[in-house]
Amino acid sequence: MTWHEDWADYLDPGAADPGLPHAQSAALNRLAGRLATSALWEGPPPQLRQAVLDGDRPQDRRSEGRDVLVAARLRFARIRRALGSWWIPVAVLVVLAALVAVAVLWPRADVTSVRLSGTAIAPGAAAVARLGTRPAGLAIRLQVRGLTSAGAGEYYAAWVRGPQGVVPVGTFHWRRGDGPVDLWSGVEAGRYPELFVTVQQEGGPATPSEQVVLTGRISRP
């Protein structure tokens, strides 16, 4: 075998060890170590070629970011020195003015609150429903108090009713205490102005039962 065949066998993990002198085996071990380095197998990201051909300004992106940071700090320090100490109240006033402008001019969401009262079978119950128009429909968030949790095999169902009929808007069991109940209606509140909650039996019909526990009327959508 020639010398480079011996070296090749030594480098080749699958070949038999040819038994080389120490100096050569040490050098080849170092070479084999380099071959196991990922830097020798990776390449630049594909988009870099176009950047090279486009003649992009070479920038170390990290230093670029740091340069910007340094420049901003220097600019800020110069402004601070120029303004002295009175810039703080001026800045506070500007921020307050901006906040007031935002509070006044910010468009309000179309939200309506509806109070629901407990009926004879749930006299201690009450709720406030906040209705908000969303792209997908009418979001109804129900804040309930005084309502007992649904019994075994039972659940609460919320409905809206109008001249066209009754539409379900969601169910809940209220077994883990308070917290808002989020309901959704796919019909307009203006055409279904009545909002009420019933007790339903699991496996029962998908229509409102006679057991109404909360009821209210939406005056404005």
Partner: protein
């Protein structure tokens, strides 16, 4: 060109100058004239080696990307001054190494008051380290693809012949023969890394 003394007077251990450079004289001439296609050809041939040097020096991919971009931008700017008889590979390696070092030097950490800057303590990479990386990477790039894949799997992924065969869906014997051929090429091309330390003529 960068002369490498391998101690092998027969020259059998050397790739030819054409193969080493991988760029024909017409392309070099076009590069000197600012031709973008020539720059693209140079990039296609050497960008991986430049990347390997940058990553070896900087140990950070974002910085290596910046250094690679800077290398070829400098090539573009200084191509006019390239001597057609000059070793293109050595010239490019020199630019790549300097670009990587410059990127490293620019890693400035600003102080909070914005007035002073603290320089990160940097250790200059050895010339030999970059040179060796360049030599190995250009050799790997010259291997036929089917052999390079096997070498990568066996060294980088530490896969056995049987595992490689299963993954590539080829017989184990084919893996063995490809590996043998590839390692013989590498042993020949990289003999100067084994025989004695390189002597670089500048």
């Amino acid at each position: 060109m960068t002369r490498i003394d391998t101690g092998d007077e027969s020259g059998s251990a050397h790739r030819s100058e054409q193969t080493v450079q991988g760029i024909d004289p017409a392309t070099v001439a076009a590069l000197r004239g600012g031709d973008l296609d020539a720059l693209g050809a140079l990039y296609d041939r050497y960008s991986r080696a430049v990347w390997s040097v940058a990553l070896t020096v900087l140990d950070d991919r974002a910085l290596a990307e910046a250094a690679t971009l800077e290398t070829f931008t400098r090539v573009r700017r200084s191509a006019r001054t390239l001597d057609p008889k000059q070793d293109l590979s050595g010239w490019l390696l020199d630019i790549a190494r300097r670009s990587a070092v410059d990127v490293l030097r620019r890693q400035v950490v600003p102080a909070r008051d914005g007035r002073d800057a603290e320089r990160r303590v940097i250790s200059m990479p050895a010339v030999e380290q970059a040179w060796e990386t360049w030599q190995i990477r250009t050799a790997l790039d010259e291997l036929p693809e089917e052999e390079r894949v096997v070498v990568r799997m066996s060294h980088l992924e530490e896969m056995s012949d049987a595992e490689i065969a299963e993954l590539l869906e080829i017989p184990v014997g084919s893996v063995r023969s490809r590996s043998r051929r590839a390692h013989r090429r590498l042993a020949t091309w990289l003999a100067h890394l084994v025989v004695k330390p390189p002597r670089v003529d500048r």
